[in-house]
Symmetry: C2
Subunit: 202 residues, 2 copies
DNA sequence: CCCATTCCGTAGCGATGACTACATAAAAGA
DNA sequence: TCTTTTATGTAGTCATCGCTACGGAATGGG
């Protein structure tokens, strides 16, 4: 199972180091986190970091990928596991409020907040996260349009606007969490935000 | 009126240079904008910049102050000029949607997006903007509590939650605008967001 | 006219950014 | 044991960061 390779084995836990890097990028963002910060917190010297993860951009990409499969996975799960569309979005907002304020890690969402500011040279990093967010809005819209087609929403409900609304609320929850809002405050905001849901077709 | 001073007069328009700096910080953020970027776009050499504006932090502070009195002033105006509280918040969201997508300047709100990412050395800049945002939530809450006291809202309506909700929506609109949402899309989101407004007391 | 004052552009300061050359250490294969 | 392979720590590379010393240019005061 453990494929013994040639050469000297690496002296650090790659997964643990990646987890440390995630926390740094999450809190300070891509440009706010220096290689010196990373090597210090990961307990790895610069050459080892570059050998194990490639350059800073590649490491960041892997961090984002890992984030999506772990901390950020609640969003896809809420939409996939709930049959009722309203329940799916309600659960998504509720879990976002909880996750974004979890004291076990930095506040807010890494995909939303880690590359807001960027120098002209790192515009592509900002673009990569923006593409993820835009793709997410499309996922929302497809689910809502599908719900409309199945009669879960009254005819004529604007799935496009509703999708952008939920995206905006999620991003607002992330920003509020970073500004110090508590889990309880955000859970109540999430509940209030759901009251825009259109009256059921009759 | 023009107080003639001794020495050589400055060869550039201080207000125009400040406006250029505002656009740069607005788009790229505090750390994403270098002194080299600023001197190039402002058409001013580094020593002139430092003589006229102090260091980078001080320049940024002045930019933020100016922003609040110009581009960001619609928010205070909406709350001050509208007697009806619901109309005040509706106008605020509507104008935010318009301002954040105005092609005459970078998308979104400078106070929300210019210092999301920060190195440990510039945490105080992030803090300064965060304090502004948090103060804003308090202004919202006071206006909403006042509306409750005047009978504009049903008894028992949670002004605190409502204030955080509106703050989150505004921040979500800003992020959506930076991600490329159009004015029309955000205006519809703003309208939808207002449907959480509680039914009037009877 | 000369001086004091203020601003100008050039050129460069020390510190830090991302990243790497190099010699060595630790493993597997022959 | 000896070679090959891969990882390690030290100690740098060059570019860019925010910022400034310095000498010259443009003004008003005397």
């Amino acid at each position: 199972m453990t494929p013994r390779v040639r050469g000297r084995p690496r002296s650090f836990d790659r997964e643990a180091a990646l987890a440390r890097a995630t926390l740094l990028f999450w809190k300070y963002g891509y440009e706010g986190t220096s290689i010196a910060d990373l090597t210090r917190e990961m307990g790895v010297s610069p050459p080892s970091l570059y050998a194990a993860f490639g350059d800073k951009r590649t490491l960041f990409s892997e961090v984002v990928e890992r984030y999506g499969e772990t901390f950020g996975a609640f969003m896809g799960r809420a939409l996939d596991e709930e049959d009722d569309t309203r329940a799916a979005f309600a659960r998504m907002l509720r879990e976002a409020a909880a996750s974004y304020t979890d004291p076990a890690h930095p506040a807010g969402c890494l995909v939303i907040s880690a590359a807001v500011n960027y120098s002209p040279q790192t515009a592509d990093v900002e673009r990569a996260l923006r593409d993820r967010r835009v793709a997410n809005v499309r996922v929302f819209e497809e689910r809502l349009a599908d719900a409309g087609g199945r009669g879960e929403l009254p005819a004529g409900v604007d799935a496009h606007t509703l999708a952008h609304y939920f995206a905006a609320v999620v991003q607002g929850l992330s920003q509020q969490a970073r500004d110090g809002a508590t889990a309880g405050e955000l859970e109540r905001v999430a509940g209030l935000a759901m009251s825009v849901w259109p009256a059921p077709a009759r």
